[in-house]
Assembly symmetry: C2
Homo-oligomer: 156 residues x 2
Amino acid sequence: MNTETNLEHELDAAANWCLQRGEKLTDLRREVLSLLLAHDGSIKAYELLAELQKRKPTAAPPTVYRALDFLLNVGLAHKLGSLNAFVACRELDHTHHHGLMLICDRCRGVHELSDESWAERLAEDAARLGFRLSQQDIEIKGICANCQQVEQAGEA
Amino acid sequence: MNTETNLEHELDAAANWCLQRGEKLTDLRREVLSLLLAHDGSIKAYELLAELQKRKPTAAPPTVYRALDFLLNVGLAHKLGSLNAFVACRELDHTHHHGLMLICDRCRGVHELSDESWAERLAEDAARLGFRLSQQDIEIKGICANCQQVEQAGEA
DNA sequence: TTTCTATTGTTATATTATAACAAAACATTT
DNA sequence: AAATGTTTTGTTATAATATAACAATAGAAA
Ligand SMILES: [Zn+2]
Ligand SMILES: [Zn+2]
Ligand SMILES: [Zn+2]
Ligand SMILES: [Zn+2]
């Protein structure tokens, strides 16, 4: 199965995901999600806009922000507040409330950890302060394995 | 001990904290930190600028952003990426690497949890993926105890 | 068809943050 | 003190991120 086929497969799955929630993955939204998925790490809204404009010259900021809002709300993408960047969700299977997003300082890559035990422990600790968690991703920053290797190679 | 005296006390402690690190808490930086401390929840850069301009009409965006950068670097303040907002650190005693910042969706208030065990467990889980954490605050969103009460009162 | 709603197009503007360079303050050496 | 170098602050302009507001279009329901 090549990349393109796989991408279409993911997009179809996403469309289905939307339908199950009574929402529609329109052509535009599908296009934006496609660009997000095609991107390895996270991507910024205006980078996404530039990409989108290659195929759709009429696109303007609201075009991409509206599509992103939709994708965020339906759970097909995540916003990384600390980077002002966006990333496709690749773990639709798990309902990953409170997923841990490990964000690389160097390459802006994201590793998503859907570990339920974190959600529970966090919720417990917060509850002790009377704090009720909203569904929310947790962003943790550092340097990914790959970038660490590059770093070491550079030092050699 | 009244509020004002207490604030001056905190500012003096902050000045000392800086000196120990070979940095200086200048008048301007002290003023900005003072405004941060006087604020209960988190505050946005341009709100801070407006406050600052009451006493220092010459202040411009770089004035406040430079002061904030300094405070962030020396550990006297935190940036909340998900809100584009800033908050004074009130736990200088602990070296709270990876402090948990519980951010209220409603009031923008912040409860800072300096729990070392979280730092360790997070680091372990991340290390399993080859991910090395950088010193970083972890932002968790929800609704604080106070705002929950207000909410219930409204429903009654 | 008619009507209503959701989506997209379009223009303008708000919000957040930094670049670049000049001036002033401060410290160090002579 | 004078001269020099460094850090901090002032100032203007602009970059980067995001939304408001309203018109046009497309889709669904009546
Ligand atoms: Zn996800
Ligand atoms: Zn990386
Ligand atoms: Zn702190
Ligand atoms: Zn609150």
